[in-house]
């Protein structure tokens, strides 16, 4: 057992009376990837901002690389790399200039800085654009440069806040490859995402946040087994029926996930009897479907079920 490289205890942040983060305790072992999964407003960015020393917690403690993020903020900053939701690079300068200047700010000599910049440009496939102004870069190139700049000082811990938001599928897969590589080199990665597939692909451990609290933590397999349900996915013949189907199934006490654009309705089912309930309902309501799939639980279902439980608990008070 190695010491955890990120550790928080009852971390809480209140904004104008709203608990953006509510007694979050977590622990991340060195060299692993923690995926923070949650909706917008679940507290993911607030947590990252506290760990990256950008925001002080209202109460609770957080340590990164064994250092308290409030008392030793400067030392923490020397050991982390942060890639936020918006590219933190200088648009007026070239990719090369951005990398070299950051390396120098971290204490590299000119020759070292240039060597490190070349190395990162090559690795992120930006060599041909090295001397172009960042202003002229595409979204994907900008994101890659932003990540490259975060890695200049070879940080022990890398925070990626929704790294693939706004990326096209090819860039996203490329990003996943890079993250996997960083971990094999010994870095610890904490990434936030709304994409369950991303957490499933990259994270060793997934922590699900909802309303500022941790609602579940585990490997993706563990989370799925907690829910332990299979799901029915229906593709309806007419998209207009989606709302009626969802309302009807909810009325039967089921959790329902819909996608109106694709005319799909999904619901977790416990046993074969549940499936029969769904079929009977559709028949009685005269809702026709084109396809029916019964699938093993995905993280979507896990997430849906966990956050729905929480919503119910909140209603009960």
């Amino acid at each position: 057992m190695t010491d955890p490289i990120i550790e928080t205890h009852d971390l809480t942040r209140v904004f104008d009376g709203v608990r953006a983060l509510d007694r979050v305790s977590l622990s991340v072992p060195r060299g692993t990837v923690l995926g923070l999964l949650g909706h917008n407003g679940a507290g993911k960015t607030t947590l990252v901002n506290i760990l990256a020393t950008l925001l002080p917690p209202t109460s609770g403690t957080a340590r990164v690389a064994g250092l308290d993020v409030v008392a030793r903020s400067r030392d923490v900053r020397a050991r982390i790399g942060l890639t936020g939701q918006f590219a933190a690079v200088e648009e007026q300068l070239s990719g090369m200039d951005n990398l070299v200047l950051v390396a120098k700010l971290l204490g590299a000599r000119s020759a070292q800085a240039r060597r490190r910049a070349d190395e990162l440009l090559e690795r992120f496939e930006l060599t041909s654009a090295a001397h172009r102004r960042v202003r002229t870069y595409s979204g994907g190139m900008r994101r890659r440069l932003d990540l490259a700049v975060s890695l200049v000082g070879r940080p022990d811990v890398i925070f990626l806040d929704e790294p693939s938001t706004g990326l096209d599928p090819a860039s996203r897969i490329e990003l996943w490859r890079i993250v996997a590589e960083l971990v094999t080199e010994g870095a610890t990665v904490l990434l936030t995402t709304q994409y369950l597939e991303e957490a499933d692909r990259l994270a060793d451990t997934i922590t699900v946040l909802a309303g500022g609290s941790v609602v579940a933590t585990g490997t993706s397999a563990e989370l799925k087994s907690v829910v332990g349900k299979r799901s029915v996915h229906l593709t309806l013949t007419t998209a207009a029926d989606v709302d009626a189907a969802a309302a009807g199934l909810r009325g039967l006490g089921m959790q329902v996930h819909t996608d109106a654009a694709r005319a799909t309705v999904s619901t977790p089912v416990d046993a074969a009897s549940d499936l029969a309930v769904v079929m009977r309902f559709l028949d009685e309501a005269r809702i026709e479907f084109k396809e029916l799939d019964l699938t093993e639980p995905t993280l979507d279902d896990v997430y849906l079920s966990l956050t729905a439980d929480r919503a119910k608990a909140e209603v009960r008070g």
């Binding site: 901002n49 400067r74 900053r77 590219a87 700010l105 204490g107 000082g153 070879r154």
Partner: protein
């Protein structure tokens, strides 16, 4: 994690690298460079022609022309624009780009502000030199106080502008709203510039405006620059300009650093 792991550097190096960073960003836009050089020329043309047409030669000692009287003042007033702009650009850039990255790096955030102000001041310095040179070559400006007097006037002007710049940086760091910064700019710029001794001797202003001009720090700056440039006895004007400037600079610098360090919420 072998050989090259960098954990940060000392303040002098941070300031040097950050200043180079800001300067490169500044000159990367050639339009900014061109307009920076044009601006003082335009001001000088306008002021000498417009006010020169009504300026009463009886107000000036023999051998002193209006441009001799005006140029040291323009040396001070050209800096008001860049000072306001420094605050406006800080607000605009605070929550994006490189300024957000610096917050998560092992840096003194106050050095980031210092570097920005130094790079903006180098632009003001270039403008001032353009102003002095073109004044002498094209507008018949005579430095009665000699080169030394002009250099001294330039230095006082730069100090005062730097102070004003930090006041706007402090406003920006605390208020963080482009709209409010713009309003402050509008409200302050014209009184600072015109309700002063810059264009007309204070004694010739209406009574109430004389009061305003007397409390306007720009008046002290302009008087000091003017006395030095025209080779007149400086009296207490230089001392007054420097001490008020340094005092305000210390307060504004402290407040700016404090304000800027506050987190970008969310």
């Amino acid at each position: 994690m072998n050989a090259e792991t960098w954990r940060g550097c000392g303040a002098p190096r941070q300031i040097a690298v950050l200043t180079v960073w800001c300067l490169r960003t500044l000159v990367s836009d050639r339009r900014v460079v061109v307009f920076s050089v044009l601006q003082p020329l335009i001001m000088l043309v306008l002021f000498t022609q417009v006010f020169g047409a009504v300026a009463n030669p009886a107000n000036f000692p023999p051998g002193v022309s209006y441009v001799d009287y005006l140029l040291p003042a323009v040396l001070v007033t050209t800096g008001i624009g860049p000072a306001v702009a420094a605050g406006a650009s800080l607000v605009r850039e605070m929550d994006r780009g490189a300024l957000t990255r610096f917050r998560a790096m092992p840096l003194g955030l106050h050095w980031v502000l210092l570097a920005r102000s130094l790079s903006d001041m180098s632009r003001v310095g270039v403008q001032s030199v353009v102003l002095l040179a073109s004044g002498a070559l094209l507008f018949g400006f005579t430095a009665h106080g000699g080169v030394l007097g002009s250099v001294a006037a330039l230095l006082v002007a730069l100090l005062v502008i730097w102070t004003l710049m930090w006041i706007f940086i402090a406003f920006a760091a605390w208020l963080r709203s482009p709209e409010i910064m713009q309003s402050i700019g509008f409200v302050l710029v014209f009184p600072l510039m015109f309700a002063s001794s810059a264009f007309v001797p204070v004694a010739n202003l209406p009574g109430w405006l004389q009061v305003v001009a007397t409390v306007n720090p720009m008046t002290y700056a302009v008087n000091a620059a003017r006395h030095l440039s025209m080779g007149e006895p400086v009296g207490t004007s230089v001392l007054l300009a420097i001490t008020t400037s340094v005092g305000l600079l210390a307060v504004a610098g402290f407040l700016a650093a404090r304000g800027f360090r506050r987190p970008l919420t969310r």
